[in-house]
């Protein structure tokens, strides 16, 4: 019981500590390049939580991050590293935007489901490619998923400039045809951009939890991820499980893309993704791939995204500085040894008697 409490406090304490250290180092950097760090952080906080509008903007940013974080987690649990959420999100958005602008004969509800399904399939296919190349040829998914990201960006660039995908309205900027009104998701809070997609994201987390921890297939995947040999020995197919995991992972990331299209921005444009794929990986890593962890760190990273825009407006610190903080948070979050290391060397630096008195070993 007691050790469980220690375990819990550790699983919360280390991520919080990582965030604090990263924010402090970020403040030092912002000061060093000549800005007012206190003012920058204040505007960041206001931009994220200041009023109902900024908080809903935080949740708008959180929505796709939860999808991509679940995507990373599914693959991770099965022992695969999916760095391709960004590309899968793009493919999902392209597929979804394409059918969302057509097939108006379908009744509204069915059309939405169809659009979501196509978004899922788009992402799943993109994940499946990387998975199949890994299983068949042993090509490292670390590199293939990244390369597939760049290929997906080019696909989007093609779709927004070429018929029949592009919007043919005279004078329109390069973008895909807008999805029809019937598939657009309702707004949850009037006068904000917060849309129903947030609920879909919550559902995705719940499904992830039930699938991974309460079904046989999910159990198999976790066994394969933890110890492929044990899995193989007990008759589980490593290849099939891996392919299924990375396809599901891709599909969920694709859902994140299509939800952003039908919830937020009916015209799909290049650069519609605010680094959602990569930040989603950060969300998963900070949250330890745990359902609750994903939700909490999803809101946190969503807040950084939303607040970063405000910070750039008010304090003139480029919003890209947020990425610096993000990078540091992840590296600290996975380096628990860091705090132990500095604790240890710190003790070594102290006079011997004092150190001996403090240590309980």
């Amino acid at each position: 019981m007691n050790s469980k409490a220690v375990q819990y406090s550790k699983s919360i304490g280390f991520p919080v500590l990582s965030i604090l250290v990263a924010l402090i180092l970020g403040a030092i950097f912002i000061t060093a390049i000549g800005y007012d760090a206190a003012f920058a952080y204040r505007s960041l906080f206001n931009g994220a939580f200041g009023n109902i509008h900024s908080f809903s903007e935080t949740l708008v940013q959180t929505t796709p991050l939860i999808f991509t974080a679940v995507s990373y987690s599914i693959a991770y649990k099965c022992g695969l590293i999916n760095l391709g959420a960004e590309g899968q999100l793009h493919m999902g958005a392209i597929f979804g935007a394409f059918v969302g602008a057509r097939f108006e004969v379908l009744p509204g509800g069915l059309h939405i489901l169809f659009v979501l399904a196509c978004g899922f399939i788009g992402g799943a296919l993109w994940g499946l490619i990387a998975g199949a190349l890994k299983m068949r040829f042993g090509a490292s998914e670390l590199i293939t998923t990244i390369m597939l990201n760049y290929i997906a960006f080019e696909f989007l660039s093609f779709a927004v400039t070429t018929e029949p995908f592009r919007d043919m309205t005279p004078g329109a900027a390069p973008r895909m045809t807008a999805v029809v009104e019937a598939v657009r998701l309702p707004i949850l809070l009037p006068q904000t951009r917060l849309h129903l997609g947030l609920f879909f994201a919550l559902i995705a987390v719940v499904v992830y939890y039930i699938f991974m921890w309460k079904t046989t297939k999910g159990y198999e995947m976790r066994v394969v991820g933890l110890n492929p040999n044990a899995g193989r020995y007990s008759g589980m197919n490593i290849g099939t499980n891996g392919l299924l995991a990375i396809s599901l992972a891709g599909g969920v990331a694709g859902l994140g893309g299509v939800v952003n299209v039908i919830g937020l921005q009916p015209f799909l444009t290049e650069g519609f993704s605010n680094n959602f794929g990569f930040s989603g990986i950060a969300v998963a890593l900070l949250g330890g791939c745990h359902p609750i962890g994903i939700l909490v760190s999803g809101v946190f990273f969503g807040a950084l995204n939303a607040g970063g825009i405000r910070m750039q407006l008010m304090a003139q610190v480029p919003a890209a500085a947020i990425l610096i903080i993000q990078g540091m948070i992840i590296v600290f979050a996975v380096s628990r040894e860091l705090f132990i290391y500095f604790g240890r060397t710190g003790k070594l630096l102290l006079p011997k008697k004092q150190a001996g008195g403090e240590s309980d070993a």
């Binding site: 040829f137 293939t144 992840i330 590296v331």
Partner: protein, 303 residues
């Protein structure tokens, strides 16, 4: 036809050079058992720091020093987290990429903003560069190109014919055995990573100051990952890495050539996919290489 061939070869060399420099560094760190996907970020930082140094001192040489120093520093950070603290190499490398993406955009908006800087000057080889048509295109390069080509036999020699090369290869295969005979595994890996960081920084500076004379945000565009693929494709060995990077460079040159044809203009996005597709194909055909170290990406714990 001759002119076409010459231009194609020149374009190949131009795009292959940064890949080759970065991949030669990576051969050492990969052989010591480290997979550094943060190479992309280090190259990006090198591209930016090179421009900053070149702008501040109006000298491309200072730019190169800046790029190498930045690469060494980022390499040192990576080594501290992955070797000393034994954190996941993939995650640390990934966050290094995010970190570098943020850092370069921030500093670019602050300092450079697309300003032109002194680029690497070209030096003609006396005699050879006098050959008509081919000479000026093929024997007139920035120093870094000659350096990259010279570094191939040099790194081959260090890796296979010296004591230190043997130690680097051994720590990747069996760190425990190395430790018992008194080779400092941590020191070897730190050294290999920092060297690879220096080379990656230098490679990045060639992208911003050799191919162009300015910094563009995210200009490396996957080059770091391609360098990793080049190392796999080149079987973790300098000579074959040279061949591999020339092939990758040729695919990039082919892309630019195709972009000038009527079909290429209509489908420019598909032409742009070419280098990425070729990277994937190369990885598929050459994923299982004989020289891959046994303890690749496995942190060493000294008990």
């Amino acid at each position: 036809m001759l002119e076409f061939t010459v231009n194609f070869l020149a374009a190949t060399m131009r795009t292959a050079t940064p890949l080759l420099i970065a991949a030669l560094g990576l051969v050492f760190s990969e052989r010591s058992g480290i997979v550094n996907i943060g190479t992309e970020g280090i190259m990006l930082s090198g591209a930016l720091l090179g421009c900053i140094g070149s702008l501040m001192f109006e000298s491309s040489l200072v730019g190169a020093v800046f790029a190498m120093a930045g690469g060494a520093l980022l390499g040192l950070l990576f080594a501290f987290f992955t070797v000393t603290l034994r954190s996941s190499q993939v995650v640390v490398g990934f966050s290094l990429n995010i970190f570098a993406a943020g850092l370069t955009v921030t500093l670019n908006r602050l300092i450079l903003n697309g300003v032109r800087v002194t680029s690497y000057p070209s030096y003609a080889i006396p005699g050879l560069s006098q050959i008509p048509v081919a000479g000026p295109a093929l024997f007139n390069w920035p120093l870094l190109v000659y350096f990259a080509l010279l570094a191939v036999p040099l790194s081959w020699f260090v890796l296979y014919k010296t004591n230190i090369g043997l130690k680097i290869r051994a720590v990747g295969e069996h760190p425990k055995a190395c430790d018992t005979v008194g080779i400092n595994v941590f020191k070897m890996r730190y050294g290999a990573i920092v060297f690879s960081g220096i080379m990656s920084g230098l490679a990045g500076s060639f992208i911003s100051m050799g191919q162009l004379s300015m910094f563009v945000e995210n200009m490396v565009a996957g080059g770091g990952f391609m360098a990793l693929a080049v190392v796999v494709f080149g079987n973790y060995s300098p000579g074959t890495v040279l061949v591999a990077s020339l092939l990758f460079g040729a695919s990039d040159a082919l892309k630019f050539r195709l972009l000038m044809t009527p079909v290429g203009i209509g489908f420019s996005q598909f032409m742009n996919m070419l280098p990425y597709v070729i990277t994937i194909v190369a990885l598929c055909f050459f994923a299982k290489r004989s020289n891959k170290p046994a303890c690749s990406a496995v942190p060493y714990r000294k008990d």
